[in-house]
C-alpha cells in the first residue's frame, strides 16, 4: 500500500480502543449469553453482549455483533469505504480474538438486520435447522474453526451440519481462517447438483461457457460458443449475458442454443442472463428456458434495488420447473452474487461486505440451485482493491457457500481499474482447483467484449485440468469423446477442418 492509500484508509477510522483496566474477560461475560437458547424475533439492546477483549493494558470494545464482524474482517477497500473496518492491525486482531470466544448461539439471538425489516433475515431464522445445529451448538466461533479442521469432520458430517449453520456463523468462522483453512474445509464439502449433467462430483470441474457479444449478434455468439465447445467447455452451462432486454432478441438466443443442443445431443443446459421477470415472460412466450438466472444479494433492500424479492424468485423457479426440461436432475436456478453489491446499492445496514455476501447464500439455498457463482472481482477496486483482496474474497465466498451446502463456482475476474492482472487470476484459479470448486467461467481468451472485464478462458480450464487432474461432468466428458473433440482420457484432439461440429454448427445457428 502506498502512502496516499494508507493515509486515505486511515482517515476512515472508527477507532474504538479505550484505555481501561480489564475487569471481566470477554469469555466470562459472553457465557451469560448461553442462557438464551430460544430464537429472538425481537431483539433489543439488552440482549446484546458487550463485545470486548484486552490486549495488554488496552481494552478493545465493539458496539455490537455487526461491528465486531466488520472489524474482524481481513482488510478490504469496501469495508473502509463503508467505515466498518478495523482502525489498526491490532484492533483487527482484537476483534478476531473476541469473535473466537463468541458462542455460536449468539448468532441466533442477535440479528444483524432486524427480523421485521428484512426478509433474508426472516428466511435465515425461520429455516434454521435446530437438530442439525445440535452437533455444534455448544461451540464458540473459534471452536467451530477447530472442529471443521478435524479429520473426523468429513464430507458426510459437513453435509449433515450445513442446515444448522447460518450465513453469519459461516462468515464469522471464515474471518478466523487463513486461506489454507478456507481451501481445506471447502474441499471436504461435497455439493452435487444435476440438470442434464452432473456437476460437483469429486475430481471434476465444470465450466460455464460465456459467449457474450456487445450487440447480441447471433452469429458472433455462435462463433464463441463453437470455440468453447471445441475447447471442451460448457458443461456447467452455456450462459449469455445479453446487451439487450428486448424479448424478441432474447428469444432468438434461447432458440439458437436449444437448436444446437438438440442437433448435437449435448448434455448441457443453456441460460440467458437477463432479469428474472423477462425470463418468466420468455417462459410464457414458449422459450426453451433451461436455467433461470438472477443476481441476488444478502439484504432485502439490495434485492429490491435489483428489482427482485423471494416471492418473485419462487414464481420463476416454479415456472421453469413446470417445463420439466431436466433429464438427470431438476436443479435449475443459477444465481450470481458478489461482495460489495449491498454497499453499492446502499442496502448493507452497516454489515461488512463479506457477511452480506454470505447472507445472499441463504437466499440461494432456498431454491436448490444448480449453480451459484460469486463474481468476485467484477465490481471494482472500491470494494476489492487488488489481487490479494480479490483472492481472499474468492476463497471466503467459495468456503461460505460450500459450508452452507451450495454448489459454488467463481467468476475469477477483475476490471482494468483494479490493481490486478492475469497472474492473480492464475493464482486464484489454482487455489480453487485445490479447494474443489464446482465450476469456473470460460470466455474466449478471458476477455469479455460485452461486459468489459477479464475472467478465465477455455485455455485456463485446460490448464487447471492438467495440473489438478480434473475431469468434466461425466455426461459431458462422454459426449466430447463421442464427438471426437477429446481423447478418452479427456485431452483435446486435433480438430480438422472437416469436423462434424465445425461443419454443422454454423448452419444450425444461422451463422453460415
Amino acid at each position: 500500500m502506498n502512502q496516499t492509500l494508507a493515509a486515505l484508509w486511515a482517515s476512515r477510522l472508527g477507532f474504538t480502543a479505550i484505555q481501561a483496566p480489564g475487569t471481566a474477560t470477554a469469555k466470562a461475560i459472553q457465557s451469560k449469553g448461553l442462557q438464551r437458547l430460544h430464537y429472538h424475533r425481537h431483539y433489543t439492546e439488552a440482549h446484546q453482549l458487550p463485545y470486548q477483549t484486552s490486549i495488554g493494558a488496552l481494552r478493545y470494545r465493539f458496539d455490537d455483533l455487526k461491528s465486531l464482524l466488520g472489524k474482524a474482517s481481513p482488510a478490504r477497500s469496501g469495508d473502509y469505504l463503508a467505515g466498518l473496518a478495523a482502525a489498526t492491525y491490532e484492533e483487527r486482531m482484537a476483534a478476531k480474538m473476541a469473535l473466537a470466544e463468541l458462542p455460536l448461539k449468539q448468532f441466533l439471538n442477535e440479528a444483524l438486520i432486524p427480523y421485521e425489516q428484512d426478509e433474508v433475515t426472516r428466511l435465515i431464522i425461520d429455516r434454521h435447522d435446530k437438530q442439525a445445529f445440535a452437533a455444534i451448538s455448544h461451540f464458540t466461533v473459534g471452536d467451530l474453526r477447530d472442529w471443521l479442521l478435524l479429520d473426523s469432520t468429513d464430507s458426510q458430517v459437513l453435509a449433515a451440519v450445513a442446515p444448522g449453520i447460518t450465513p453469519e456463523m459461516a462468515a464469522a468462522v471464515s474471518k478466523l481462517m487463513r486461506n489454507q483453512d478456507l481451501i481445506l474445509i471447502a474441499r471436504k464439502c461435497r455439493v452435487v447438483t444435476a440438470f442434464r449433467n452432473t456437476i460437483g462430483l469429486p475430481d471434476r470441474l465444470s465450466v460455464r461457457l460465456q459467449p457474450n457479444h456487445p450487440t447480441d449478434d447471433v452469429r458472433a455468439i455462435a462463433a464463441s460458443m463453437l470455440d468453447g465447445l471445441l475447447y471442451g467447455s460448457g458443461d456447467a452451462t452455456v450462459g449469455i449475458n445479453p446487451a439487450s432486454d428486448s424479448l424478441s432478441t432474447l428469444m432468438r438466443l434461447w432458440q439458437m442454443m436449444d437448436e444446437v443442443r438438440q442437433y448435437f445431443d449435448i448434455p448441457m443446459q443453456s441460460c440467458v442472463l437477463t432479469h428474472v421477470t423477462t425470463q418468466i415472460q420468455a417462459i410464457e412466450a414458449g422459450a426453451p428456458v433451461d436455467l433461470v438466472f438472477q443476481s441476488i444479494a444478502g439484504t432485502e433492500k439490495t434485492n429490491s434495488s435489483f428489482g427482485i424479492n423471494l416471492n418473485l424468485l419462487r414464481e420463476a423457479h416454479q415456472a421453469a420447473q413446470s417445463l420439466r426440461r431436466g433429464t438427470v436432475g431438476d436443479n435449475l436456478m443459477y444465481f450470481e452474487t458478489g461482495q460489495g453489491s449491498a454497499l453499492s446499492a446502499g442496502g448493507h445496514h452497516q454489515v461488512d461486505q463479506q457477511t452480506c455476501e454470505a447472507r445472499a447464500y441463504a437466499a440461494a439455498r432456498e431454491f436448490n440451485p444448480l449453480l451459484v457463482n460469486t463474481v468476485v472481482g467484477f465490481i471494482g477496486p472500491e470494494y476489492l482493491y487488488d489481487g490479494k483482496q480479490i483472492i481472499r474474497a474468492g476463497l471466503e465466498d467459495h468456503f461460505c457457500g460450500k459450508l452452507l451446502g451450495l454448489p459454488m463456482g467463481c467468476d475469477v475476474c477483475y476490471t482494468n481499474h483494479a490493481e490486478a492482472d492475469q497472474d492473480d487470476m492464475d493464482t486464484l484459479l489454482t487455489l480453487f482447483g485445490a479447494a474443489g470448486i464446482n465450476f469456473i467461467m470460460g470466455i474466449p481468451g478471458a476477455d469479455d467484449i460485452m461486459l468489459n472485464y477479464q475472467s478465465t478462458s477455455f485455455h485456463d480450464a485446460l490448464y487447471l485440468r492438467s495440473v489438478m487432474g480434473l475431469k468434466r461432468a461425466p455426461e459431458f466428458d462422454a459426449w466430447l469423446a463421442r464427438m471426437a473433440i477429446t481423447e478418452t482420457n479427456g485431452k483435446l484432439r486435433d480438430i480438422g477442418r472437416g469436423h462434424h461440429l465445425l461443419q454443422q454448427l454454423q448452419r444450425i445457428s444461422g451463422a453460415a
Binding site: 502506498n2 496516499t4 492509500l5 486515505l8 469505504l81 457479444h213 450487440t215 449478434d217 452469429r219 458472433a220 462463433a223 464463441s224 463453437l226 470455440d227 471445441l230 449475458n241 445479453p242 446487451a243 432486454d245 442472463l273 443476481s295 435489483f306 428489482g307 450470481e336 458478489g338 453489491s341 453499492s344 463474481v375 467484477f378 465490481i379 471494482g380 477496486p381 472500491e382 482493491y385 482494468n416 481499474h417 492475469q422 474466449p444 481468451g445 478471458a446 476477455d447 469479455d448 467484449i449 460485452m450 461486459l451 468489459n452 477479464q454 478462458s457 485455455h459 485446460l462 490448464y463 492438467s466 483435446l492 480438430i495 480438422g496 477442418r497 469436423h499 465445425l502 454454423q506 451463422a511
Partner: protein, 271 residues
C-alpha cells in the same frame, strides 16, 4: 516466432463475426506466446487509460479555438488513488470550484461537462469531435453555453456543476470503464434539471462512443434527440425513451439505473 509449434484452430474464419478472442490456437493446453503478448499489450493500454491524466490545457485550448466557453473544475478526489477508492469523492464538486462557478455567468440552457472518468483518453480523443457534431444539430445559445472540464470526476459531478451554473439540462461526457478491446470508450449522460440528490434513474445514457463503437454523428443525433425531448417534456431518465430510430448501432442509449457501471452490467443492474 514460428507457427510450427502451435496447434492452430481451423475455424479462424469465424473471427470475421466477432472481436472475441476465438481460434487462438494452443501449445499443449496453453496460449501461444503471441496471444499472451497481445493480451498483455491490450491490458497495458487499458491500465494506462485508467491512470493517464487528462491534458486539461490542451483540451481547453482546442475548445477555445472552436469558439466554446470553457471553465475548469475539480472533484473532491485529490488524486487517482483516492478517486478509485472513494467514488463519493469523484461525484462531488470541490467547494472552491462550486464558489467559482456560482460567480460565473449562468448557463443559458445547457451545461456541458467533459470529465476524465475512468478513461481520460476517451475524453481527450472523442469529446471535442462529438461536441462539434452536436453543435451542428442542436440549437441553443452556444457562445454562452459553458463547457466545464472536470478533473477526477464521476457522472454525478455534473449535478453540482449544473446547480452552480443554474442550468436546465446537463450533458456529461465521461471516459467509461476501459475494456481490453475498448480503452477509449466515451459515455454521455443527460440529466434534466439536476439536483444534488438526483437519482441515477433520472439520467439517460449513450454508451460506447468512439469511431469503432458508436460513431460521433450517430451519437450526436441520439443526444440531439434526447436533449430536445428532455427539454420539451421537462424530464429525463426512465420516463424518457430513446425513439430516435437508429437501430443496430453498436452503442446504446439507455435509461440509467446505476452510474459508474456499464448500463448492461448484469450483476449490478436489473435489466
Amino acid at each position: 516466432m514460428s507457427d510450427d509449434l502451435i496447434q492452430t484452430n481451423p475455424w479462424d474464419q469465424l473471427r470475421a463475426h466477432t472481436s472475441a478472442r476465438i481460434a487462438l490456437g494452443r501449445v499443449g493446453s496453453s496460449l501461444p506466446t503471441r496471444e499472451v503478448l497481445a493480451f498483455g499489450l491490450a491490458h497495458a493500454q487499458a491500465r494506462d487509460a485508467v491512470h493517464r491524466p487528462l491534458d486539461i490545457n490542451d483540451l481547453k485550448q482546442q475548445l477555445k479555438t472552436h469558439g466554446f466557453r470553457t471553465l475548469q473544475v475539480h472533484s473532491n478526489a485529490a488524486d487517482r488513488n483516492s478517486y478509485l477508492l472513494r467514488p463519493d469523492y469523484g461525484r462531488h464538486l470541490h467547494d472552491d470550484s462550486r464558489v467559482y462557478l456560482e460567480h460565473e455567468l449562468a448557463a443559458p440552457e445547457l451545461a456541458i461537462v467533459i470529465a476524465d472518468g475512468l478513461s481520460a483518453i476517451a475524453a481527450q480523443r472523442h469529446a471535442l469531435p462529438l461536441l462539434l457534431a452536436f453543435r451542428e444539430q442542436f440549437d441553443t445559445d452556444w457562445p454562452n453555453t459553458p463547457v466545464v472540464l472536470a478533473e477526477q470526476g464521476r457522472v454525478a459531478i455534473g449535478d453540482g456543476i449544473a446547480v452552480a451554473l443554474r442550468a436546465r439540462l446537463v450533458v456529461v461526457m465521461i471516459g467509461e470503464r476501459p475494456g481490453l478491446s475498448s480503452p477509449d470508450s466515451l459515455g454521455i449522460y443527460l440529466t434534466y434539471q439536476p439536483r444534488l440528490d438526483s437519482m441515477d434513474s433520472q439520467r439517460n445514457c449513450i454508451s460506447n462512443v468512439r469511431p469503432q463503437g458508436l460513431p460521433y454523428a450517430q451519437a450526436a443525433a441520439k443526444l440531439d434527440y434526447l436533449a430536445r425531448e428532455s427539454l420539451r417534456l421537462r424530464l429525463s431518465g426512465v420516463t424518457l425513451k430513446d425513439d430516435s430510430n437508429l437501430a443496430n448501432a453498436p452503442g446504446q442509449a439507455t435509461a440509467m439505473v446505476s452510474s459508474d457501471q456499464p448500463p448492461n452490467d448484469s450483476l449490478q443492474i436489473p435489466e
